[in-house]
Every structure is written in structure tokens, then in C-alpha cells.
């Protein structure tokens, strides 16, 4: 076998292995077993999740946020539309945190059904909007003040 043939064979083999690996990752249901966060429904359904450190993700239910910045305590409810979990956070959530926003919290679900966390992460949507939809000139001056 000539060097050129050997090299082409390597090329075909590398492409085949790469293609198979990509196909496997893309088509397998890896994402079902390996999740970055649990939804409230999943967390409530899984009894073994009690007292285990997990991430819980969902929307901060509007009207549930009780945030005492000085005491560094925040209470709110994470919902996925079907189920909801009350969350007690020690420490201040990040600045962008508010009601109606997506959030992921790291901590443990207590036997009393309250999820205790000291780490809140805010999920930003893929939307980038100017404040209030004002024309750019207006907003820049408004925000600068």
C-alpha cells in the first residue's frame, strides 16, 4: 500500500469514527439521564431526591418573591407550570433576579418540602431588548442618569 493510499484510508476512517460519534451523541437519549437541573415536577416525583444536593430549575413564580436584602434572605417559589417548590435562599441572589425570570438553584429539598439553597443562578432568555422599546437615543440618556 502506498503512502497516499494509507493516508486516504486514515481520512476515511477518521471521518467514519467522527460521524459515528456525532450520530451517537445526537441520537442517543443521553440528555434524559444526564440533566443540568431538575424540574419541580421531577423533584417532587423523586423521593430519593430528598436531602441530596441537586439543581432545581424553573420560573420564579410572580407574586411569590419575598426578598430581604439587608438580612440576605430570599423566599420564592420555583414553578414549571405543573408543580411548584418553595425555595429559601440564604445570601442575596444576583442583581438580575426578579419574579417571572428563569432561575436555577443549587441545594437540598428538605423533608418539610422547602428547597434550601445558597446559590441562585439567573437564566437569561435569548432575547436582547432595548429598555422599554424606546428609540436608542432616548434610552441611553435615560439609563445614564
Amino acid at each position: 500500500m502506498t503512502e497516499a493510499m494509507k493516508r486516504r484510508l486514515f481520512g476515511v476512517a477518521a471521518l467514519a469514527v467522527a460521524g459515528a460519534a456525532l450520530f451517537y451523541v445526537g441520537m442517543s437519549d443521553m440528555g434524559d439521564d444526564l440533566v443540568y437541573y431538575w424540574t419541580p415536577s421531577e423533584l417532587i416525583a423523586a423521593a430519593e431526591a430528598k436531602e441530596a444536593t441537586v439543581r432545581l430549575g424553573g420560573m420564579v413564580k410572580p407574586g411569590t418573591l419575598d426578598w430581604d436584602r439587608d438580612a440576605q434572605q430570599a423566599r420564592f417559589t420555583i414553578t414549571d407550570g405543573d408543580h411548584e417548590v418553595p425555595v429559601h435562599c440564604t445570601g442575596n441572589p444576583p442583581q438580575m433576579f426578579r419574579e417571572g425570570i428563569g432561575a436555577v438553584v443549587e441545594g437540598k429539598l428538605g423533608t418539610d418540602g422547602v428547597f434550601r439553597t445558597d446559590r441562585v443562578m439567573v437564566k437569561h432568555s435569548n432575547e436582547y431588548e432595548a429598555p422599554d422599546g424606546h428609540p436608542p437615543e432616548v434610552q441611553t440618556t435615560l439609563v445614564d442618569e
Binding site: G11, A14, V17, L22, G26, M96, H124, Y128, P131, P136
Partner: protein
Amino acid sequence: MSTEAVASAPAPTKSRFHWEHLVGLLGLVLLVAGQYMGLFVAPPERMMGEVGRILYTHVPAAWLAMVAFTVAFVTAVAHLFTGRRGLDWATEAAVEVGAMLNVLLLIQGSIFARPTWGVWWTWDPRLTASAIMLLTFVGVLMLRGAVRDPDRRATWTSVATVLAYVNIPITYFSVKWWRSLHQIQSSPETVADPMVFVLRLNAFAFLFIMIWFIARRWRLAQTLARADEAPPLPAQEAT
């Protein structure tokens, strides 16, 4: 005899003007304009405020890192099928420039994440895939550095690049395939018009600078290869 040897030796380096400098100049002009607009002309983001402006460097770095690795993938496959040495230099150049953009991407992403998400780093699928992307291509460069024979080095680099490239579509689709903290891809429909324009301006700036860097790195690889393979100098030949 000695005059022939001199003639076949590589030409001394002359400061010739190469086309890529024009591309690089265009990229730098666009970068200055794009960053100025991103910092002072574009509106702040509704939720993220001024911090949202890092969009104009973070997103171009992500796109162009993937473009650079795609260039490397294409030249690696082409090298395996044609054996042309110039394609191997192109793979080396594109992988190095892509790795640099990947480092930039991770650093900017971390700076973006702290004020918006609240953490510098989290093992979210997109972040993890981007970190693996950097490590695999650094691995390609380390493998390359460990092989002395130019032909074998070129083949190994090409094969490793093709294998490492698997992670680019995985990184791109990670936000769609798996639950993540990182948002899914934005589109012109989800980004306010003045921001789309500034983002495009910066993306083209990064594109031209990437082409400039890859072309310069390719010429460096060519020069090094020629020096490596040059016939012995006449003085050494005589001894």
C-alpha cells in the same frame, strides 16, 4: 557546484507586502468602529444593562472560533486526500487561531456570567462543551508538537483534527439538546435591530482578523518548513 546550492536555498526573507494585510486592516477598522458602536451607540440591554454590551465580543469570538475550527477540519480532510503540505500548514494555523478565540470566548463568557447569572462558572452543557472544545484542540497541537517527521506529523494532525471536530456540532447544539443555563441561540428576531447591526459589524471584524491571523500563521509555518527542509549550507557541505 556551490553556486547551485546557493540558488536552491530558500530565498532570504524580504519584507514583501501580502494580501492578508489588507484584510487585517479592514478587520481592525471594523473592530474599532464596531466596538465604539457597541460601547457608546447601541442601547443597553433591558435586563442586563451595560453588562449586555459584552455580547459584541463574546458572540463573535464564539462564532469565529467555530469558523476557524471548521477551516481546520476542511483543510485536514483535504490534506488526508491530497497530501499537500500547504493544507497541513493551514490546519496548524487554523487550529491555533481557533484555540486563541476559544480562550477569549471562555474568559469573556465568565465575565458575562458573573453579573448576569451570578456565577463565574457552572457545569452547564454549553460551558462544558466549550471547555472540552478548547482542551481537544490544545491536545491536537500537543500531539503535533510531539511528532518530528513532517509527513507523519501532517497525517496525525489531520486525523486528530477530524476527530476533535466532532465537538463543534455538539457545542453548537448543546443548548438545544440538553437543559442548560446558557440561553439558546439568538436570531435577528430575538435581538433588537440596533444590536443586530452592531453585532454583525463586530462579527465581520472578527472574521477579517481571523483570516489575517490564519494567513500570517500559514506563512510562518511555510517559512519554518522550508528552513527545516532546506539543503545544507555550502559551508557545511564542504566539510
